[in-house]
């Protein structure tokens, strides 16, 4: 679909922007952490004072030229204590994370590989540990080991080993059954060799992410434990103990709490940010350096205004929908707007079915959505008029448009299993429309729901109304979606590939249902499809779309017997016939050019066998009853008639 290709280009723009942002983040976080390690290594030389040197006369001094960050309750220099705190933070993070890694990974690899009782017992123990709040686990272990930095870090190491264990086990379970591992076993590699050489490398990427997460968590936990007096013990300077002593003097000198707090936040933030960047990088397959794509040739006439349109659509008395000169733009990479639909005109009369046919990426779905005013963020209709029941939809406010949707125009989507809300029963979803749009009472709405579900040919409607979407088959869900679309009796129904996601046997039933319902309700149908056989079956007239514009419009019979546009001809000859078993099926070479890289003249010219020099200019849609956008349409028709 067009939308997908646009999403892709938009997301590429987003990615390059994110790449820049992640570069800035990496530099920031990297410098903070480098500074931390530097201060930790050279704390003795850098810090202006001895962190333990008390000076009660100068206690609780604010920042000054002598003591840049002031002094604490015992007159010790806060800056020096902060710098020495870096050392404790680095030791704490390194110690606890290494212990967690050394305990967790081998054990996880082992039980994952071995399975059986080992796995069962260890996993039950891990579950038990995980169900206790982490800090409580640490407190219990400290109760056994005693307080102090190293013991507290052993406690945290044991605590966080559970996450490494589960990660390693998960990877082994996933990899164990992979073909390459099994073949290594067949050729007689030993278990330890298989674990080391074949499985371990797969753990590395998630392990790196887990390490950053753990380092951040360890830093916070260490500070917390030291703060409550179970970690680093005074008088040693750690950020947690500094906050502990600051806590007693919040009413006298709250500034004491600021430097260690900022230090903790800056460090943890840097580690977390770095972790996010690494995770994103791994998510993209570590393609950190994306080669910028060579920009596609822009087509110069950015806005082929409606004035280039040649023939106008023949006006008909009973037109329900009349679209003229529609142009839709979508903002793409660099925020630049790219046209995705240009100079599109079509009309549908009461009780008529117009097929909108074309390859993926030609703009069919977007046409339907722009009629509803639901193109979504980043897109807008820039030119043209959309008249529904004599009302210009483009001039309506969003509120008025809400009134129109459902009541006058409704849409059935391609995949019924995703277009129904999984959280509510199907009856509820139809009833909701009746209540909000028509003001039905709860009971009246429900009665009508049952009628509608019955009408779209679902047996036992009372029962089915109470089903959730996932409990229904695709065909049945599509019937429900149709019932919902028709619940307010709209004069126009937009059906976007409504049979594409269904089984072939169900397709025909749904097409028959559309025909029956049209006979009964008399609505006009805009039937979007890429399948010419389906279009031939259900449509009265067909508009062929290519690269955002209509290239041919005709009655079904005329179009199929004598196509005038080379693209239509290509589509028809690429259509498989049940009777025609002569391989190979002809195809149209190339693919639909992406929006933004359309040729300046005829957009089909680079795939066309009939191309001439005059194809490089804009070509208007020409004709009276039948419309075609090709300079050689006349010749082609004569050739076709021969």
């Amino acid at each position: 679909m067009t939308l997908h290709s646009i999403d892709k280009s938009v997301s590429r723009a987003g990615r390059s922007r994110r790449l820049n942002a992640s570069f800035v983040i990496t530099v920031f976080a990297g410098s903070v952490l480098a500074l931390l390690v530097f201060l930790a290594l050279f704390a003795d030389w850098i810090s202006p004072y001895d962190p333990l040197q008390q000076n009660l006369i100068d206690a609780m001094q604010g920042p000054s030229a002598v003591h840049w960050l002031g002094t604490d309750d015992l007159g010790r220099d806060v800056l020096s204590r902060l710098i020495h705190g870096c050392r404790i933070a680095v030791i704490a993070a390194a110690e606890a994370t290494s212990i967690a890694l050394i305990l967790g990974v081998p054990l996880g690899l082992f039980i994952g590989y071995r399975g059986g009782w080992w796995d069962w017992i260890v996993m039950r123990l891990v579950e038990a540990v995980v169900s206790i709040p982490g800090i409580m686990v640490a407190i219990v272990i400290i109760a056994i080991l005693g307080t102090g930095l190293h013991r507290a870090m052993i406690a945290l190491g044991i605590l966080f080993s559970t996450s490494f264990l589960r990660l390693a086990r998960g990877v082994v379970l996933a990899e164990r059954e992979e073909v390459y591992v099994r073949s290594a076993r067949v050729v007689g590699a030993s278990d330890s060799r298989i674990l080391l050489r074949h499985i371990f490398p797969n753990i590395a990427p998630p392990l790196i992410v887990q390490i950053t997460l753990t380092v951040g968590a360890v830093l916070l936990a260490e500070a917390g434990l030291s703060f409550i007096g179970l970690g680093v013990q005074p008088p040693n300077a750690s950020w947690g103990t500094m906050l502990n002593s600051a806590a007693s003097y919040m009413d006298l000198d709250w500034f004491l709490a600021v430097p260690p707090g900022i230090a903790i936040i800056a460090t943890v933030l840097s580690v977390n940010l770095l972790g996010d960047v690494i995770r994103d990088a791994i998510g993209r397959g570590i393609a950190v350096k994306v080669k910028p794509e060579t920009p596609a040739a822009r087509f110069d006439a950015v806005v082929p205004a409606a004035s280039t349109a040649g023939a106008t659509l023949p006006e008909r008395e009973d037109d329900v929908l009349r679209v003229e000169g529609l142009q839709v733009m979508i903002s793409s990479r660099d925020g630049e707007e790219v046209p995705v639909i240009t100079d599109l005109s079509l009309g549908i009369a009461k009780g008529e079915t117009l097929g909108l046919v074309g390859e993926s990426g030609s703009g069919k779905t977007l046409t339907g959505l722009s009629i509803l005013g639901l193109i979504g963020a980043g897109g807008r209709t820039t030119h043209g008029s959309i008249m529904l029941n004599g009302k210009e939809l483009r001039s309506l406010t969003e509120r008025q448009m809400e009134q129109v949707r459902g009541n006058e125009v409704a849409m059935v989507f391609q995949d019924p299993t995703t277009s129904l809300n999984p959280a509510f029963t199907v009856g509820n979803q139809i009833a909701e429309v009746l209540r909000t749009k028509k003001g039905f009472s709860q009971k009246d709405a429900w009665d009508r729901v049952i009628e509608l579900i019955d009408r779209v040919g679902i047996p036992r409607p009372e029962e089915r109304a109470k089903a959730y979407p996932h409990e229904l088959s695709g065909g049945m869900a599509q019937r429900i979606a149709i019932a919902r679309a028709l619940s307010c009796n709209p004069s126009l129904l937009i059906a976007d590939e409504p049979t594409t996601a269904l089984d072939v046997t169900v397709q025909q039933e749904i097409l028959d249902l559309f025909r029956d319902l049209q006979d009964e309700f008399g609505m006009a149908i805009l039937f979007v499809t890429h399948d010419l056989a389906v279009a031939a079956d259900i449509c009265d007239r067909i508009s062929v779309m290519y690269a955002g514009e209509v290239v041919e419009m005709a009655e079904v019979d005329g179009l199929f017997s004598a196509p005038r546009h080379p693209y239509t001809r290509g589509l028809l000859s690429a259509m498989p016939h049940a009777s025609d078993r002569n391989p190979p099926l002809p195809t149209i070479r190339g693919s639909v050019p992406r929006p933004g890289s359309w040729p300046a003249g005829c957009r089909f010219s680079n795939r066309c066998d009939f191309r001439t020099g005059s194809c490089d200019q804009r070509i208007p849609l020409a004709g009276t009853e039948r419309l075609v956008r090709c300079v050689r349409a006349g010749e082609l028709e004569r050739e076709g008639a021969r």
Binding site: G14, L125, E127, A128, S131, I132, P133, G134, I135, M136, V140, A143, I144, G146, G216, L220, A223, G224, F227, L230, L243, A246, A247, M250, D251, W254, A257, P260, G261, I264, I265, V268, N272, L273, D276, L369, L372, L374, E402, Q403, V404, R405, G406, A410, M411, F413, Q414, D415, S419, L420, N421, P422, E432, V433, T436, K437, Y468, H470, A481, R484
Partner: protein, 314 residues
């Protein structure tokens, strides 16, 4: 739904059993002898033997465990080594304190997290979104106890809007309870709000791109209704799973935040017990905490089932 509840309650029994074995065997490994701590350096050999006998430490570990387990099953978690206080009594006395702190902070985390996450998701890449995302990232890096200290400095010491320390039970005075619980709950809930906001945002952005949202809009349902009924109901499914984990984190965090505000809850009890190597108290605390966590998980499972019809046992 009832079957799910019963299933989870039955699963609770083996879990509590394993946790009890784990804590009992771990706490029996204490390197220092609690008896020495009790009688002090001046105690005689007779006193030592007497205390050991009184505490039942002469029996083999396995025998002691089953004796303790039998009583624990009846709600008696034993007696503190130090002041002959019943562990059940001490824990139950402090439980409402820690629970109200955890519950209020969970409410704050949910409300703030939902609001920030939804606002950010509705306008992806707008300045509101960037502000919320950056705020959430920083919020997760701020230690709860430090945030508590800063809140005290601003709102208790300077502005005097809230008391700096202490806790008033809800039953004593609802108004004073609210005043005493506000600052610690905000301090505790910050990081969880951030975590929930991030989750809500990503879930909501994902759901808003779903076909059924576009289909509901195409049906002419008002935008607000589509966002708050159709999208949010689905976005909440993954959020509930995060919430369950966050409540466990909050319960642990409460132990530390209590210290900032001198609140006499389970945290104070636990820290004192660790310092005194009060084994029965530690065991009892761990068991009660696990029970709380499992109840929370059960509740979130039920909500999960209500929100997500596919998760319901049919």
């Amino acid at each position: 739904m009832l079957r799910l509840v019963i299933q989870r309650l039955l699963a609770l029994i083996p879990l509590l059993f394993i946790v009890s074995v784990l804590t009992f065997s771990f706490t029996s490994l204490l390197p220092s002898d609690p008896v020495d701590l009790i009688i002090g350096d001046t105690g005689t050999h007779e006193q030592y033997e007497m205390v050991r006998e009184r505490l039942g430490l002469n029996e083999p570990v396995v025998g002691r465990y089953f004796k303790w387990l039998g009583k624990a099953a009846q709600g008696d978690l034993g007696t503190s080594f130090f002041n002959s206080v019943s562990v059940t009594g001490a824990v139950m006395q402090r439980l409402p304190v820690t629970l109200s702190l955890t519950a209020v902070s969970a409410c704050i985390a949910v409300v703030v997290g939902l609001a920030a996450g939804i606002v950010a998701a509705l306008r992806p890449r707008s300045w509101v979104d960037r502000f919320a995302t950056i705020g959430a990232t920083i919020g997760q890096a701020i230690p709860n106890f430090w945030f508590g200290l800063i809140l005290v400095a601003i709102f208790a010491v300077n502005l005097r809007w809230f008391p700096a320390t202490g806790f008033t039970p809800l039953s004593a005075s609802p108004w004073d309870w609210l005043r005493s619980v506000t600052l610690p709950a905000v301090a505790l809930g910050l990081a969880s709000s951030a975590a929930i906001a991030r989750q809500v945002r990503s879930a909501m952005v994902g759901v808003l791109q779903q076909d059924y949202i576009r289909a509901a809009r195409a049906q002419g349902l008002p935008a607000r209704r589509v966002i708050y009924k159709h999208a949010l109901t689905n976005a909440l499914v993954p959020v509930v799973a995060v919430l369950s984990f966050q409540i466990t984190v909050l319960l642990g965090g409460a132990l530390i935040v209590e210290q900032v505000f001198a609140i006499n809850g389970l945290g104070t009890l636990a820290i004192t017990a660790v310092r005194q190597q009060d084994i029965p108290m530690i065991q009892g605390l761990v068991l009660v905490m696990v029970a709380l966590v499992v109840i929370v998980q059960l509740a979130t499972d039920v909500i999960y089932g209500l929100l997500n019809p596919k998760a319901r046992p049919s």
